[in-house]
Symmetry: C3
Subunit: 144 residues, 3 copies
Amino acid sequence: MIGQKSGTLTVETPGRGMTDITGEITRWLQDVGFEEGILTVFIQHSSASLTIQENADPDVQYDLDDFLGRVVPDTPSLYRHTAEGADDMPAHIRSALTDVSLSIPVLDGRMRLGTWQGVYVFEHRTSPHRRKLALHVMGTFGGL
Amino acid sequence: MIGQKSGTLTVETPGRGMTDITGEITRWLQDVGFEEGILTVFIQHSSASLTIQENADPDVQYDLDDFLGRVVPDTPSLYRHTAEGADDMPAHIRSALTDVSLSIPVLDGRMRLGTWQGVYVFEHRTSPHRRKLALHVMGTFGGL
Amino acid sequence: MIGQKSGTLTVETPGRGMTDITGEITRWLQDVGFEEGILTVFIQHSSASLTIQENADPDVQYDLDDFLGRVVPDTPSLYRHTAEGADDMPAHIRSALTDVSLSIPVLDGRMRLGTWQGVYVFEHRTSPHRRKLALHVMGTFGGL
């Protein structure tokens, strides 16, 4: 019997960089008793985004952030949209280059991630922000 | 009771740039009476794409398009695939960097977008095109 | 009656570049008798990714790979994470710029792809790799 559940997740970011939310999502899946189906994670912002990346060596995250800094520099003369700060328009571009939503298959109550994959909120503004995520699962639940 | 509905949407673009389709998708959700679940928007082309971006300041859209023009220039000598025009291969690359499909949670009949998020078709060819989108919803419908 | 099915697909890649998996996915859809709904393809790696691109002219694939090579060069001095080879960190960045999961609507047993769209595993490491994909369909199945 296929059912669904909608939820939310709030993530406090320390400013530009990646915050691992794999554990929080895993706990939410357990809380709602989800067994098999599709998890959708959607970020309700356009200056922060989502990504799935290697979770073993933190340098991967720093290198990814550095790369985006080189390709999308915080240089106001490059942009029209500068009223919200030198980092705001670059944040929108970084978001467009990464993911606003992730669709992740779930089996036996766990996301079917690879051994080295983690799920991250990618903050693109330089200052800390509170970011809201919409969660949704559809499939089978334990006990049903 | 979980059900589903498949649909289509045709979007006429004026050439390179972003066309807001938030209103048209919202109307389709109302037409089919969708209440809660997952909406999938899929573009059936590889020289135009989809993105979710800030909808408040139109300069964000121009800056995003400018950025892609700098990183993926319409310079034929950079590409093998030039028979369809100087803007065609850049259009494929721009598409690969943005989204071909979007999975958006829906609750109370509305997409769970952030306050400043809009859904856009991103045309990457310089001339106007007619773009076809596949729509799909799965979840609960009003009256069921 | 809405049901679901989880599966896997293993793809041997010849090293950096794109491998068309449209045919293998189409056969899997036929094997499980899927009729209408959503297919999710998820790659369980962060140094290879997924993309949907033009399938007519192979030069599009070479140009896309060349573009990524220019923007994300295999230059160790640019990265901290170099222990796994000069191509590893660029592979993570290339993955972040493309797709880890694809949500594709299915109707009448077929993916609703455009005429010129193919589904690809995009290998970003220079040497051959065995890549594992998680598949999932939810919707209606033939005979149900």
